[in-house]
């Protein structure tokens, strides 16, 4: 199974805090899986364990069919990991960063030039080769970090919130690169706090309070939402929300930007309340599903 990931009943705690609570997840080679969840869900702990940077307390964690406890060197050689924080050298140029990681991962000199050329092309960083990494924009920094991660052509990529704090255009560009890599057969596990990025993954794993609540294709996930969902807009969302929560049998009322998502069981329906500018029944989004799963898990 080149590049596959297999997690079986994995748990990890820091002192008294249970960071990851008995999760299981299997990722096939060449699959792009998104790990989605709020801060503190256990995403980073899971990823660091996959990268052999943390040791599991319980359960089995395999990368490329190898145990992260015993096969540290072999896994590190075939895996690419991009930590959450920008972890390159700001006082080195783009080219010096790439060269350093190429040498660190033992990329043979004969292949290095070609490899760098490919990476420059897809990251469009070539014109900035001599710029200090610290002087790059957020999006370019992330592309450089990804390039450094890819320098040794890893079969498995672990990316910890690579698009956090990056502008929307650069984020789209970044995801295009990820899907391109997936098409080349690289197994990718990527975490993100952005729900809309879930749709770009082959499968999505929802993580919350150390547990995985659901794993499925984005299109399938929305079918897990068991209620009727209405979108309500109005000028005074707070009082609309209070009214819907107190005076109707709404199961949940969530604020989504400038509108409300209100869900009802099959027996009830929403009658447009006073003050509502528009009411319409809609298909649930991934975020609706996640909020539903979070509520029901508590």
């Amino acid at each position: 199974m080149p590049g596959s990931i297999k997690i079986n009943s994995f748990s990890k705690s820091y002192g008294d805090i249970l960071a990851v609570n008995n999760i299981s997840l299997a990722i096939d080679p060449g699959e792009l899986v998104g790990l989605i969840g709020p801060d503190g869900a256990g995403k980073t702990t899971t990823m660091r364990t996959l990268c052999t940077l943390l040791v599991p307390d319980a359960g089995e964690v395999l990368v490329d069919g190898r145990d992260v406890r015993t096969n540290v060197a072999a896994i590190r050689a075939m895996l690419g990991y991009m930590p959450q924080r920008f972890s390159l050298y700001p006082d080195l140029t783009v080219a010096q960063n790439l060269n350093f990681f190429a040498d660190l991962f033992g990329v043979p000199p004969a292949e290095k030039a070609e490899r760098l050329q490919t990476l420059y092309q897809f990251s469009k960083l070539e014109p900035f080769r001599k710029r200090l990494a610290g002087a790059l924009s957020g999006g370019m920094k992330q592309k450089l970090a990804l390039s450094c991660t890819l320098i040794h052509t890893p079969r498995t990529l672990i990316l910890d919130e690579p698009t956090t704090g990056v502008d929307p255009v650069s984020r789209r560009e970044f995801w295009n690169i990820l899907r391109q890599l997936r098409d080349e057969g690289v197994t990718i596990l990527v975490s993100t706090p952005y729900m809309e990025e879930a749709d770009l993954c082959d499968r999505v794993a929802f993580m919350y309070q150390g547990r995985i609540l659901a794993v499925d294709k984005p299109a399938q996930l929305v079918h897990r939402f068991p209620y009727k969902l209405y979108e309500v807009s109005g000028s005074d969302l707070q009082s609309l929300r209070a009214y819907l929560e107190d005076e109707t049998d709404a199961l949940s009322v969530q604020i989504f930007g400038d509108r409300l998502h209100v869900s009802y069981g099959p027996e009830s329906a929403l009658i447009a309340p006073a003050g509502a500018e528009s009411v319409q029944q809609i298909e649930p989004s991934i975020e609706d599903v996640f909020l539903y799963l979070m509520q029901t898990s508590a």
């Binding site: 540290v72 930590p83 924080r85 990681f101 040498d103």
Partner: protein, 365 residues
């Protein structure tokens, strides 16, 4: 092992881009040498001597001329009362007073072993001691010239630093202080910086081995510290005229050993500290104070209280001071310095082994 080289190169790029490190490495030793070498001066010159000559005789004038003829004394004739001397001492206008009684000439004629009164401002005991010795000598010469026969004569011959120049003593000591500070400080900060900024996480997921990271991180600072050694030795020899009696090769060998011990100390600190500030404080506390107080840099080890004297065995500079003073001033050869060399090597090995074991290859703990 091929991964050591890229780490070394990267470290040099960091250093070349970090103006402050370069300042610390090159300017600090020079400033410290000049400050200590010129400002701290334990030699006594310009002794201001009040002279109350109640005798006013050819004999007393002859004695006073002995002092005024010397390079060390500035004779200040004084005809006030003895009570006024205290005010003059308090105002630091004189360091000592020589009082010749009215019957000085008569006494001297009767017996050449005359007594005179000397008052010394001993608020600085070291200086007072030196003044007393100088003055005694001058008076003794005077008495002997007039027929006194001392029961025996003490003629001290001071070896290795015959004119007791402070610089000969301080400059080699400063070499020890500068080398251990620079080495321990820079190494620990360089490693902790990677932990703090998260780049260590990125390095650790590569197939690089801990020993390769350690060597790659340490080698550049060996080179920097060696550069400092060259600067220090040149200033010592050409500016302060510190003699160089022994073998330069042996000194360089021993200095590299000392630098290596200091770097190991820095490495050990880096396994404990998580933030650069903490590493910096730890490095300073571990090097500056012990090196100044407990190594024989300023105060002789024999004058330390017993518990501190025991503790001083853990201070690397203690051994290096014996080595560098031994080689530069005495021309010691290798076998004479073997115990010190072995002590330094032992410390380096223990610190290295402990640090290499403590060096985490993951983020646990």
């Amino acid at each position: 092992m091929s991964r050591i080289f890229p780490i070394i190169i990267k470290e040099f790029i960091h250093i070349s881009r970090d103006f402050r490190t370069l300042i610390v490495v090159i300017v600090l030793p020079v400033v410290m040498l000049f400050l200590y070498g010129f400002a701290i001066n334990m030699e006594i010159q310009n002794i201001n001597m009040l002279v109350l000559d109640h005798s006013n005789s050819p004999e007393s004038s002859s004695l006073i001329r002995k002092f005024s003829g010397s390079d060390f004394y500035t004779v200040l004739p004084f005809d006030g009362t003895e009570a006024e001397i205290e005010t003059i001492f308090a105002n630091r206008e004189a360091d000592m007073a020589l009082i010749l009684a009215g019957d000085f000439a008569a006494e001297h004629a009767r017996s050449p072993e005359t007594t005179v009164q000397i008052l010394i401002d001993a608020s600085d005991p070291n200086a007072a001691q030196a003044i007393r010795n100088y003055t005694n000598t001058v008076i003794q010469f005077y008495n002997m010239a007039h027929g006194a026969k001392p029961s025996f004569e003490i003629t001290p011959t001071v070896w290795y630093n015959p004119s007791l120049k402070s610089a000969y003593f301080f400059v080699p000591g400063l070499a020890a202080l500068i080398l251990i500070m620079i080495s321990a400080l820079l190494t620990s900060v360089a490693i902790v910086r990677e932990k703090e900024t998260g780049t260590m996480e990125q390095i650790l997921v590569s197939p690089v081995r801990p020993v390769e990271i350690i060597i790659g991180k340490v080698v550049p600072y060996i080179i920097l510290a060696f550069l400092d050694l060259i600067i220090i030795l040149n200033i010592a020899y050409f500016v302060f005229d510190v003699p160089f009696v022994g073998s330069l090769g042996l000194l360089i060998f021993c200095s590299l050993l000392f630098i290596f011990t200091s770097l190991s100390l820095g490495l050990f600190i880096s396994t404990k500290a998580r933030a650069q500030q903490v590493a910096m404080m730890m490095a300073l506390v571990a090097t500056l104070l012990p090196t100044v107080m407990l190594s024989g840099f300023m105060f002789p080890l024999s004058s330390l209280p017993a518990p501190l004297r025991v503790l001083s065995h853990l201070v690397p500079a203690r051994y290096y001071l014996v080595i560098i003073r031994g080689i530069m001033l005495k021309g010691n050869h290798f076998l004479q310095l073997l115990p010190q060399v072995l002590a330094l090597a032992g410390m380096a090995i223990v610190l290295m082994v402990v640090s290499a074991r403590k060096f985490k290859t993951n983020l646990e703990g």
